[in-house]
């Protein structure tokens, strides 16, 4: 849906007539043309029209994003298949989202790579070629502004990437988090979650990049206090890392203790992820 149609949809939802909204700002014909996506209107006029309905430009932008429904639907479909461990569905989505030409549509390509990442997480088998993965890494490294789509595909595909790629992309995201925080807290949380996923992947591989990424994280502006999940993850992963470096009663006890903090209050998915990491890295079932 184009912006004009979005405006019309919002106006009708708010119960305003085109005449009432346009009054004193633009002619009715001009508003009708805009709403039919046949004409443009100046930004300051759009803002004035929205103000008539008590809607800010920002809220209208949110409203428009809502209609990027394909993006959301595909992501939810992928999440659903992953949560249900439906590897056949993930494989089908990967195939279905194959590019039709050399210039793949960005969101479709992200969806395909997300399916590949989820499939690998569940089966250990790589569906995407090295060329495709490199193309994704190049696209993400060229990203100037990280948004939901980029952060989401990064989170899902870090597991497929080389240690160097994981480190480079996490460093890029870390460079952006402070800028994202003031205007989109949900995206800020997702960005930190992706970095924690990268840290987890590197620890699982006993990569030489672990210490470097940890230094990079420590140099970044501290995580928001309200972002409990990522603050917990970082402490837990550091406990895992310590036990990995020096496997002793004390270091293992520390892993159990930190996990114990979460047990009475944590969301199920976070508990499951922590348990899995401990088993994978230390062979320690919590």
């Amino acid at each position: 849906m184009e912006m004009g149609a979005e405006f019309k949809h919002l106006r009708e939802l708010k119960g305003y007539s085109a005449g009432a909204v346009s009054s004193g700002i633009v002619t009715l014909n001009r508003l009708n043309a805009f709403e039919s996506d046949e004409g443009d209107i100046p930004l300051d006029k759009l803002r004035a029209l929205l103000l008539q309905m008590g809607v800010s430009l920002r809220e209208f932008a949110h409203f428009c994003e809502r209609m990027e429904i394909n993006k959301g639907t595909l992501r939810k479909e992928l999440n659903k298949a992953y949560a249900a461990k439906d590897v056949n569905r993930l494989q089908a989505l990967f195939t279905m989202l194959a590019p039709e030409n050399q210039e793949p549509q960005r969101l479709q390509f992200y969806g395909r790579m997300t399916a590949a990442g989820a499939y690998y997480e569940l089966t250990g088998t790589k569906l995407a070629s090295a060329e495709e993965l490199q193309r994704l890494v190049d696209m993400l490294l060229e990203t100037v502004t990280w948004n939901e789509s980029e952060v989401s595909v990064l989170h899902a595909t870090l597991i497929l990437m080389t240690d160097n790629q994981v480190f480079m992309l996490c460093r890029e995201v870390l460079g952006s988090v402070a800028g994202i925080r003031p205007w989109n807290f949900a995206l800020y949380v997702s960005a930190w979650s992706a970095v924690m996923q990268g840290y987890r992947v590197l620890i699982q591989r006993r990569s030489n990049f672990v210490a470097t990424l940890a230094r990079q994280i420590d140099r970044t502006e501290p995580m928001a206090e309200a972002m409990l999940q990522n603050r917990f993850k970082y402490i837990f992963l550091n406990a895992i890392r310590a036990a990995q470096t020096t496997d002793s009663m004390q270091t293992r006890a520390r892993v159990r203790t930190v996990y114990g903090w979460l047990v009475p209050i944590g969301p199920e998915e976070l508990l499951a992820e922590a348990r899995k990491t401990s088993i994978d890295v230390l062979g320690l079932d919590l």
């Binding site: 100046p42 920002r58 949110h62 502004t145 989109n184 807290f185 969301p267």
Partner: protein, 290 residues
Amino acid sequence: MLGSNFRKIRLERGLTLQEAAAKAVSVASLSKFENEETSLGVRKLTASLHNMNTSFLEYASLCDDSTGNPDSYLFRVVAAYRKPDLATLKLLVDEQAERYKMAGSEIDFNDLISAAGLYCDLSGKNLVGPAELKHLENKLSHVQAWGETEVIVFGNGMTLLNDETVTKLGLDLLAHVDDIHAWNDALYQDAWSALMNVVDLLLARHSDQVDRLFKAIGDCDLPEAIMIDHFRLRFLKDCYAAQKQPTAATVALVQRDIDFLAKVGSKRVHDQYVRSAIRLLGADYPHEEA
């Protein structure tokens, strides 16, 4: 503002006017727009933003006087509320009341309610008149679709409303929260925060509506992405149990929740929850005088 904010983003991205204008608009028009000499068509603007790899939402947030960027009104209000700095908050309410009186726009009204609601939460004093309260109640009772405005106004302004209205609106929001999740993750979090505010408020008022709300919420396992709300729900449930039966065991559960915040290093949030426990449990929550 509109043009200068565009320029701010462009310069932050290290892009030239030519690069931002490419195939979207003439360099001359874009330059005039940045200098606030002329406006720019919305489609040309979004195409130029696309050239800068910037979403319309990010740009609109930067331009928003009300919320969305650190200089905006509600950011200042929330900062004063969190400190807490009652004097500054009152000044912000007065300033907004004056603005609303002069301009009378719904956006000004919403900001006034948010600020006055947060002020009331801290001080117990209501700074808005009966006409505004009636308008607020009427506005929220006829929400067709819970959007950002409604969720924020309700989340901040509910302290101005009575228990029954707050509960009714809370249940309505709860019934729509999954719809919101389908299209807006950020708003979904805001909606749950507002719902937790409802529970908190009703608990603080020792309202008999709390049970109704807890029953409706049930044992939901909120997603990891909004763990702060998942945590808050746990905390409020434990506070409720301790309110009903203040024993060492029930209070210990509240303390366990609060301790988690200290363990993950969330000092400021920890202190907020200590204050919250004192407010909800009074003398039943062992604490040193601040």
